[in-house]
Amino acid sequence: MRTFVTGLVLALTLIGIAGCSERSEGRPAPASPASYTMLDDGGQQLRLAFNRSMGSVRLVLLVDPTCAVCLRGLADVNADLLATTADPRLQTFIVFEPVIGGKASDIAPAASLLRNAHLHLFWNAGGGFGHLYATAVDLRRHGKLVNAWDVWTIYGPGATWGDAAPPRPALLMHQLPTLDNPGYRYLDGKVFAQAARAMLAKLPARSAAPRSGSAAHE
């Protein structure tokens, strides 16, 4: 029994250490009501906001607000990129999807992981946007289309979302099992941040600061 108790204490200690080892930028703020935009399965609200921010580097992140690995990704991207810049030329669109049972009420705690003034939160209650996005970026495993969630993308300043499907991103990373497309790599917060910074560096200083559309957290 003593071994069991020791193991339990060790496990809890490990969780504590892992929690404390998050960098200060990654520490969540107290959960507060986050405003978000309802997103239909066709992604129209996101399309409008995305196109309004043309001229800036745009991140589009698709996550379930109750997926622990997605939240780890949010914490990593926040620590490596979002919390380190207030640059308005970087606009972040986060689509929360109910893939494993996430609810709208889970958005505020999840968003509390992020420290950035240019976040745009969306809630796709219908859960169909992931399929649309997967089709657009050809997200396949073993030849079959998979739902797009836990997907992390970067778009350049010139990307435009036409009437139909979302455009292809300049970089797509994910935290899914291996995908058919070898260009879609497993999320590494540092690599992701580096790619976004490289795009930002090519933009003229403070040009094309986008109007904030349906943005929350501004």
Partner: protein, 117 residues
């Protein structure tokens, strides 16, 4: 420490590690982690996910130790003079622990296997 207590403790350790491995294995496929641990706790748990194989390995090693305790022949038994009933209790502990650890291993690994297949 009596053999029975030692076997119980070791079996408990195997179950503890197996439980932790199962928790790590299921932390992404179900929303329980956020509900139980909060956002920060869930992030911390997800950061520990790479430890899962080691926890499972540790669990199996402890389980092997329980079987060793249950099936070894103590010196006192060399001349068949020990109480066989006591050994039977230890063996029950070992087999019950084995079934539970196997169940936890399935819980730990099935989400990953399902995702990759």
């Amino acid at each position: 420490m009596g053999e029975r207590r030692r076997a119980l403790g070791t079996a408990g350790g195997a179950l503890g590690l197996g439980t932790m491995a199962a928790a790590l294995g299921t932390c992404c496929g179900a929303p329980w982690a956020v509900g139980l641990l909060g956002v920060s706790g869930a992030v911390a748990l997800a950061r520990l996910a790479p430890l899962q194989p080691f926890l499972l390995a540790g669990s199996i090693i402890l389980l092997a130790a329980v079987f060793w305790l249950a099936y070894r022949r103590p010196k006192a038994c060399a001349d068949d003079s020990c109480n066989v009933a006591n050994r039977r209790g230890l063996r029950w502990i070992a087999w019950i622990a084995a079934v539970l650890v196997a169940a936890l291993a399935v819980v730990a690994l099935v989400p990953a296997i399902a995702a990759w297949s």
